[in-house]
């Protein structure tokens, strides 16, 4: 079924036009604004970024938060995915729906619910009160931000890990067992290494999405919990410092693309490596 060039152009034109005008062009616009002003080329905004205490602190906080949320999601998600990979296909399908259920609900609403649960009058503090413990401040702390973000991102990590685990040949484990490996040896020497790339994929997606979080840190964190997306919003709506906002956005974009690029390089090599090992 060969398509002729005019047909292809006709099919692609609307989407290309839309993405070109409202995605690619605006992104280049932001990058441009971060190195050009009315008088021409300038390194001003970049210098401002490097010299700004606030920006440096917020950037650092963004990375630390993304890294710790990703680590927590992997640690919590991997065993869950492993458990799911051992279920019967039908049971697994139902359980998967359950895991994905919160994923279908607006991030704003899920974050909102955490405000109610973790707040001073919330269920957590009421429970502690019944136990005779003084109310604790969870809302508007980094802990609350972690809870909210993990709840939002965990399903993605679990499902990505699970997909990789389901690709692993069950016979390999059986072979290891029949050759005398103990259950845990078979897991650590055969299953785990084969599942690592899937877990890494999930972790990377989680990390990249964490970098761009906006709602959860703004609502669950304190004033000192804002991350880069919130800072960009502040620059645009309060400080009206557009060049600075553009530099921040460009930095965020660059980091995201670098992560994706590095990941692509590593994964490609891994595929070549395992492909060669299997004699394909």
């Amino acid at each position: 079924m060969i398509m002729r060039r005019p047909t292809l152009l006709l099919l692609l034109a609307p989407a290309v036009l839309l993405a070109g005008l409202l995605f690619v062009l605006p992104l280049f616009g932001v990058m441009r604004l971060s190195i050009f002003d009315e008088s021409g080329f300038t390194l001003g905004p970049i210098a401002e970024l490097v010299n700004s205490r606030v920006a440096v602190v917020v950037l650092e906080r963004t990375f630390v938060l993304a890294a710790s949320v990703t680590a927590i999601c992997l640690i919590l998600g991997y065993p869950a995915a492993y458990f799911m990979s051992g279920l019967k296909p039908k049971t697994r399908a139902y359980v998967t729906y359950l895991i994905l259920l919160p994923f279908w609900i607006s991030i704003l609403i899920r974050t909102y619910t955490w405000i109610v649960i973790l707040g001073r009058e919330g269920i957590v503090n009421k429970g502690l009160g019944l136990l005779g413990v003084a109310p604790v401040q969870v809302l508007y702390t980094d802990l609350a931000v972690h809870i909210g973000m993990v709840q939002i991102l965990l399903p993605i990590v679990i499902i990505t890990c699970l997909a990789a685990m389901l690709d692993i040949e069950k016979d390999l484990m059986k072979a290891a067992r029949s050759l005398g490996a103990s259950r845990s040896q078979a897991f650590w020497k055969v299953f785990f290494p084969l599942s690592v790339s899937g877990a890494a994929t999930g972790g990377l997606i989680c990390f990249i999405l964490s970098l761009g979080f906006f709602v959860t840190p703004a609502l669950l964190g304190g004033r000192r919990s804002i991350i880069i997306a919130n800072l960009i919003d502040l620059q645009v709506h309060q400080t009206l410092n557009w060049g600075f906002a553009a530099v921040l956005a460009t930095a965020l974009l660059a980091v995201t693309l670098t992560c994706l690029g590095l990941f692509w390089l590593v994964m490609r090599r891994r595929v070549e490596f395992t492909g060669a090992g299997l004699g394909r």
Partner: protein
Amino acid sequence: MRRALAVYFVVLTGFLILPLIFLVPISLSESQFLEFPPSSLSLRWYAAFFQDPTWVSAAVLSFRVGIGATAVSLVFGTLASIALVRGDFPGKGVLTAIFIAPLILPTVVLALALYIVFLRWQLVDNVFALTLAHAIVAMPYVVMIVSASLRRFDTTIERAARVLGAGPVKAFMLVTLPYLVPSMFAAGILAFFASFDELIITLFISGGAQTLPVRIWNDLGLKLDPTVPAVAVMLTALSIVGMGIGELIRRRNEQRYQSATPPEA
């Protein structure tokens, strides 16, 4: 070991769906303070939603923009998917990446970018422009789902139609499109909720016009309005029902096309 894992899994799943479990009783509370468990039940906050014109107009705007964005992304995305799956041309990989990218790149970057160009083009506070901006965020779902479904399609069926005398467009319309419709429906639902949920871009470019998420967001800055849980429950019910129908139709279609092919000997 297996049992310990099972217990762990149940606890974790509980954590994931915890907010959903709490939402319903909170929304039914009589009190104007958000309390759990509620001391007395009532539907007053649901009524409050429908009586407040600002909530209603926010919902109307969300539906308008959501339906528009779904239509645009569904048509544009499906056409592009056909070209991406069936066609062979240079730059296919790059183009696919561009269509998928809004899903993974930080939305705030796109929001700022759109704000800058929309100010120049005087499109801030323009419902039509807002709809197109939402379509950008919704299109990745369409491209991913429709092209995956198209890739699974057995092209010999379409070829059979061609051999029997149908032209390429007719063969596609009568054979392939009916197969694609359920995944397009599922993609459309995802696209709709992607738009319905979109907050940051709307905050930047809507020029003060409020969609539901923006209305909720503005409310949260001031006080904890008990109407919000009622809205949240209605939205959640809407998305669960919508996604459920989409998934059901998709699965029925898959089974239909599976049983249509004769079992292999």
